[in-house]
Amino acid sequence: MNRLISANSLLAPSFDRLLDHAFGAFVSSSDGRSRETVDQTDEAHVLRIDLPGLRKEDIQLDLNDRTLTVAGESTADRPLATRYRRAWSLGPEIDTTRISARLDLGVLEVTLPKLAPVAPAARTIEIQSA
C-alpha cells in the first residue's frame, strides 16, 4: 500500500543539524585532552591544567608520599563532559606543606612553593699548624 504521508516526516523532529560544522582558519586543533603548563619562578613551580566545565566539587587533589594526584570528572549530562586523572612525583625542592590550589575560568592552578635554600652559617676556618 502506498502511503500518502510519511509519519516520520511529520512527527519526528528534523534530524538535519541546525548548525553547520565549524569552518575557519586554525593552526592547531584541540584534541580534547586537557592542556597543562608548568611555569617556574624563584619561589615556586606553578602547574596550570585546563578543566573547562568542571567545578570545585568535581575535582579531587591529593598528596600522598610526595605524589600529587589530580582527578576530575563531570556528570555525563553536562555539556563537554570530561574525565581527567594525572599524577606528578614532586621533587625534593618542593615544600609540600605549603601547596595551594585555585580554580578560575575553568583552569586549575596549583602552586608548589620551593623550599627556601638553607644558607650556610658564616664561620671562621681555623688554620692548623703543621
Binding site: 548548525l19 565549524a22 586554525f26 593552526v27 592547531s28 611555569d39 555539556p79 575560568l105
Partner: protein, 116 residues
C-alpha cells in the same frame, strides 16, 4: 634633532602586535525542539576577551587567552540554518565553557493544531 624624530617614529611603527596561536576550541552542539545549543570550551578566557558576532549567515566566535608564553586565540565559526532566529541569540560564560542558545524562528517553532 630631525633624525631623532625620524628614529622615534620608526621605532613606534615597528612595535609588534602580540602574536597568537590560532586554535579551534573543543565544542559540541545539541539541537532540540526550541532551537540549538552550542557549548564551547574556553578555559582561561575572560568575558571581556570574548567576541561573538553574527554576519554572512554565520556565528563567529573569537576569544583571546593572553598568557605569558603562548597566547592563544580561539576561533570558531558556525553557519546557522535559515530557520534559526539569529536576532535572538543568547550566550553565557561559566566555568570556562560558553553556552550559546539560538532559538528557532517563531514560524519554525512546534505548535499545536486545533482540531475543528
Amino acid at each position: 634633532m630631525k633624525s631623532n624624530v625620524c628614529c622615534e617614529t620608526s621605532r613606534l611603527e615597528t612595535v609588534a602586535e602580540p602574536s597568537f596561536v590560532d586554535t579551534l576550541p573543543v565544542f559540541t552542539t545539541r539541537d532540540d525542539q526550541t532551537g540549538t545549543r552550542l557549548h564551547v570550551a574556553l578555559p582561561g578566557v575572560k568575558r571581556e576577551n570574548l567576541k561573538l558576532t553574527f554576519h554572512d549567515g554565520a556565528l563567529h566566535l573569537e576569544a583571546i587567552r593572553p598568557e605569558a608564553k603562548t597566547p592563544l586565540r580561539y576561533r570558531l565559526s558556525a553557519r546557522l540554518a535559515s530557520r534559526l532566529d539569529s536576532n535572538a541569540v543568547s550566550a553565557n560564560l561559566e566555568y570556562g565553557v560558553l553556552e550559546v542558545h539560538v532559538p528557532l524562528k517563531a514560524e519554525a517553532q512546534p505548535r499545536s493544531i486545533a482540531i475543528q
